[in-house]
């Protein structure tokens, strides 16, 4: 105990923690205010609004699962090569050869869990009417985050490069062929012609944009990999920052205003 006391008196400790232990009112406030992560919360909240039966903690769990998926995802990236030659073998190796062979499992099951927790979070927010003014725009941001979660999961689906991945993505991306005016088989696309030349064809339609090719192939794998690991998480992080900030500004976690 005495040793800890001396540690706390060092310049290093004091430079990191600028307040005392959170045991009194002042320091408990400071613990939240002076911490970049915790200050997304207000200092004080209504006692009833932190009860688990009202919030279900689903928003928090979704964010936590996002962090888990980021960490496990980074670890998986150390062993995975997004090419047609190596991808499948690397996934097998991740199970058979790599230490802590359950990393892919945590990533996959965590992703399933995140989709469910996002839905339940939306469900709770709806049932408590928490999208009403002034929180309307934050609901919109939430819907965008929900879509990004599904896109993250969908792009990740291709990466194992097994039969399930390839054909689920083939079938899924085939919908894009039917985009009105922008897919080769979409309604109205046949009207977009210059003389005999089709303006929208299999080599430049919406599905081509998605797959970077006419079929699910090497370019698709790389494209989905980049989307999955960098592009979508990047956008989602920005939207999450907006989402959390606005929760704070609009009166904190759930509760009547």
């Amino acid at each position: 105990m005495k040793k800890l006391f001396t540690v706390k008196n060092t310049q290093i400790w004091k430079s990191i923690f600028r307040h005392g232990p959170p045991e009194d009112r002042r320091n408990r406030s400071l613990a939240v205010l002076a911490n970049v992560f915790l200050h997304l919360h207000p200092v004080k909240v209504r006692s009833s609004s932190i009860r688990l039966r009202y919030t279900w903690c689903m928003g928090g769990l979704t964010f936590f699962l996002f962090l888990v998926l980021t960490v496990t995802g980074i670890l998986l990236m150390f062993y995975y090569r997004p090419t047609v030659e190596y991808a499948y073998g690397d996934i097998i190796d991740l199970r058979e050869q790599v230490p802590l062979g359950a990393m892919r499992e945590i990533h996959r099951w965590g992703a399933h869990a995140m989709v469910i927790s996002v839905w339940l979070h939306m469900f709770r927010v709806f049932m408590t009417g928490s999208y009403k003014p002034p929180r309307e725009f934050n609901w919109v941001v939430g819907v965008l985050l929900l879509v990004l979660t599904l896109l993250l999961s969908f792009t990740g689906y291709l990466l194992p490069w097994d039969q399930l991945a390839m054909w689920a993505v083939t079938v899924g991306s085939n919908m894009a062929r039917a985009t009105p005016l922008m897919g080769t088989e979409g309604p109205g696309t046949a009207l977009l012609v210059l003389g005999d030349v089709k303006l929208v064809h299999a080599g430049n339609d919406a599905r081509f944009f998605l797959l970077a090719g006419r079929f699910v192939g090497a370019a698709t794998l790389l494209r989905f990999y980049v989307l999955h690991c960098i592009a979508i998480p990047f956008v989602a992080s920005i939207l999450m920052a907006v989402h959390f900030w606005r929760i704070r500004k609009d009166g904190g976690i759930s509760g009547p205003l």
């Binding site: 299999a202 944009f209 370019a219």
Partner: protein
């Protein structure tokens, strides 16, 4: 639309200031038109940038099997048979019926799976969702909404069959009567 009213309101005050200033080097109107030109240029540049980034996502070169390839001589194909030798690489079946040869894309018209030719049952069957097609490519069972697609077929100068997948012929549009969609030998 430019908000003329707010500009006019500012103008009054500005003119008064202008009067007290003995050497007006930039007139208010001139300054505003520069600002306007600046914003237009900025918007145009931003739009061009976004469009180029969008275009960037469409590759110019594909590392896929070539769309145009030579498929050997017509005599290599037996009558009444579906030839599957090009299916794996180019996703095309070549069918010969009598002196008629045509090439069908091995892509199901339902959701893009790869059907199989079942020679005993004399049909193309898609394993994904069960669509079935006759040897002619006409759909007769399952969810496929339309027949398989033909691709352009012709004879090259050396007498080999030339398949060109860039051009597609759809039966329901009446394109199978196009002479480029089949080969008579």
């Amino acid at each position: 639309m430019w908000n003329v009213g707010s500009f006019l309101r500012v103008e009054k005050g500005f003119q008064m200031a202008e009067k007290s200033d003995s050497k007006p080097e930039i007139t208010r109107r001139g300054f505003l038109s520069w600002v306007r030109a600046g914003w237009i240029a900025f918007t145009a540049a931003a739009a061009t940038g976004s469009l180029s980034a969008f275009r960037f996502m469409f590759p110019n070169v594909l590392f896929e099997p070539p769309q145009i390839f030579k498929a050997g001589f017509p005599s290599e194909y037996a009558d009444g048979m579906v030839d599957t030798r090009w299916k794996e690489k180019f996703r095309v079946w070549i069918v010969r019926e009598g002196n008629l040869i045509y090439a069908l894309r091995s892509v199901c018209t339902h959701l893009g799976c790869t059907p199989n030719w079942l020679s005993t049952e004399e049909k193309f069957k898609c394993p994904c969702h069960g669509s079935g097609f006759y040897i002619s490519g006409i759909n007769f069972e399952g969810p496929a909404p339309r027949p398989l697609e033909r691709v352009r077929i012709s004879l090259a100068e050396d007498g080999q069959i030339l398949i060109d997948q860039t051009q597609i012929f759809q039966q329901e549009k009446g394109q199978w009567s196009n002479p480029e969609s089949f080969l008579i030998i």
